[in-house]
């Protein structure tokens, strides 16, 4: 009779066979240690670190571009070299074109963007929320909005110029239209994206109607609203350029048209580079503001 309550699990003994010739070969291979990477692995680590490959890819594109322009692959002198662009931007920072250097032109565009974007969002966000809350408002506004939604904002340019002339108003008008659409869609949907169980949770914790709205609805719509702000800002940036291409005496879009009319491709490309840099800076800034405003959001990488 067994009295010992501990259970002994017997493992099969380690077999010590004499290895065959092939097996002995295998045994003599150096064991791969996890903490000492192989040459290829360490190469990969080096390549992935310090954005090495990112720099490499940009360098390759610049080299490619350089040789295209040096050997005039596309004919003529219509593509300046990258270094010529840098020089051109530097020159335009110190030399004025129609009363403004390149930084002032950039600021002129940005200024329009911020005004138009602010007006568009200031109308769109409350209207979107009101549409989500009120059935009548939705029934009245939504059909009209659905007709306007698919129209590219740039298609309004001619009309805007006829209405407001070539001044600031027509450009701001285009930007208002451009930033209005994505902002309204997002705020309209934002309330529906709030988890309805959170209202129950707030009510169970003793929230009154006002507290329920301030706690759940207000914070709940923030992420979607912010996404709408981001999308409309980048759309506003492309709208301003289009508006400036058509008519204007300042702004980056105007600079590009000037370069075209004066057969100076360096000005055109310099303008394009400044557009890209500015857009990148705007996105970067918005992402940081979003992290400050909505710190609970999971990081979503694009």
């Amino acid at each position: 009779m067994e009295t010992d309550s501990t259970i002994v699990v017997e493992l099969p003994p380690v077999q010590e066979n004499t290895p065959t010739f092939l097996e002995s070969l295998v045994v003599e291979l150096p064991p791969v240690q996890e903490n000492t990477p192989t040459f290829l692995e360490s190469l990969k680590i080096i390549l992935m670190r310090f954005h090495f490959l990112s720099f490499l890819s940009i360098a390759l594109v610049l080299t490619f571009w350089h040789f295209i322009s040096v050997y005039k692959i596309f004919g003529g002198t219509f593509l300046p070299t990258p270094w010529a662009i840098v020089q051109e931007i530097w020159r335009l920072m110190h030399q004025e074109l129609i009363g403004k250097n390149i930084l002032e032109h950039t600021w002129a565009s940005l200024h329009r963007v911020f005004i138009g974007w602010a007006i568009g969002c200031a109308i769109a966000i409350p209207l979107g929320i009101f549409m989500a809350l009120n059935d009548f408002a939705r029934a009245i506004v939504k059909p009209v909005f659905d007709i306007f939604k698919p129209m590219p904002p740039i298609s309004w340019i001619s009309l805007a110029i006829l209405w407001f002339g070539l001044g600031e108003e027509s450009k701001v008008f285009i930007i208002v239209i451009g930033s209005f659409v994505p902002c309204l869609i997002n705020s309209f949907n934002s309330l529906r994206l709030v988890d309805p169980a959170l209202y129950d949770a707030a009510r169970m914790l003793g929230a009154n109607r006002r507290q329920e709205i301030m706690e759940v609805a207000f914070f709940g719509i923030l992420p979607a609203t912010f996404a709408g702000l981001q999308i409309s800002l980048s759309l506003a940036w492309s709208c301003v350029l289009a508006a400036e291409l058509v008519g204007g005496r300042s702004g980056i879009g105007f600079l590009i048209i000037l370069g075209m009319n004066q057969y100076k491709p360096a000005i055109i490309v310099a303008g394009m580079v400044v557009i890209a840099l500015t857009a990148w800076l705007i996105t970067f800034g918005m992402e940081h503001i979003e992290k400050l405003v909505c710190p609970w959001r999971r990081d979503i990488k694009v």
Binding site: A202, L205, G206, A207, L222, W296
Partner: protein, 254 residues
């Protein structure tokens, strides 16, 4: 043995109306007394109306007929005298652990220092020290539900309603959380109504187990006084016999 009755359901019926013509009876003639500071388990399979009954006691739904009273007064809506722990956690994603736990006192208008004191107490009670500043999405399921428990407790409710709180957890975490909920309940006794579809969980936790029939409309089948002494073990003979008995009782409908 006499008990103080905390909460009473008297012939509660609930019928949901879909598309104005389609009636779905969910609960039929539920009469139930909940004793003060007892751990009552509502056990039933899915679609047996147990969560609806809990939501009626919570005040989130109103009964179609019948009456639910708390301390003799009819329940007309949600109130801070009852707290709920949800299966889907329902934590406020924009609040940190501390912020979530302090939400009930905050709604009541408790001053900040007092709120901090309450928050700290319940963070310690559920064992979340060091995670005060974390956001819910950074926590595991078990930890999220600890926050849910602490948040419910921080409002110092008379009745604690738990709606399949561990339904989304893996088996091991679930078992651990069952132990935790007992420990917390024994430290700070409240009337608990715990909804589950898991027989083992019901036997492990409940002082009384109310089984509901498994098809709509939900009806109370039996009320079982759990004879097992605490601490309970899942693999003892008496536990398994009780399990067998409950399963055979509910077999027809499970």
């Amino acid at each position: 043995m006499s008990h103080t009755i905390k909460c009473t359901c008297r012939s509660v019926c609930k019928t949901f109306v879909q598309k104005e013509t389609h009636f779905v009876p969910v609960l039929k003639d539920i009469t139930l007394d909940v004793r003060e500071n007892e751990f009552l388990v509502l056990l039933g399979p899915g679609q047996s109306g147990k969560s609806t009954l809990l939501r009626i006691i919570a005040g989130l739904e109103l009964p179609s007929s019948g009456e639910v009273t708390l301390n003799g007064k009819p329940i007309q809506g949600p109130g801070p005298d009852r707290s709920m722990v949800f299966q889907t956690y329902s934590l406020f994603p924009w609040r940190t652990v501390r912020g979530n736990i302090e939400m009930g006192p905050r709604f009541k208008g408790v001053p900040k220092e007092e709120r901090r004191r309450i928050g700290k107490k319940y963070i310690e009670l559920v064992g979340l020290n060091g995670f005060e500043a974390a956001f819910p999405h950074q926590l595991s399921g078990g930890m999220k539900q600890r926050v849910g428990l602490a948040r419910a407790y921080a409002n110092s409710p008379e009745v604690l309603l738990l709606d399949e709180p561990f339904g989304q957890l893996d088996a091991q975490t679930r078992y651990l959380m069952e132990q935790e909920v007992l420990r917390i309940w024994e430290t700070d006794k409240r009337t608990v109504i715990f909804v589950t579809n898991n027989v083992d969980e019901a036997i492990y936790l409940g002082e009384r187990i109310v089984t509901l029939e498994g098809k709509l409309p939900g009806k109370i089948q039996t009320i079982i006084e759990n004879p097992l002494a605490r601490p309970r073990e899942h693999n003892t003979k008496s536990f398994l016999e009780l399990r067998k008995k409950i399963i055979s009782l509910t077999r027809l409908t499970l």
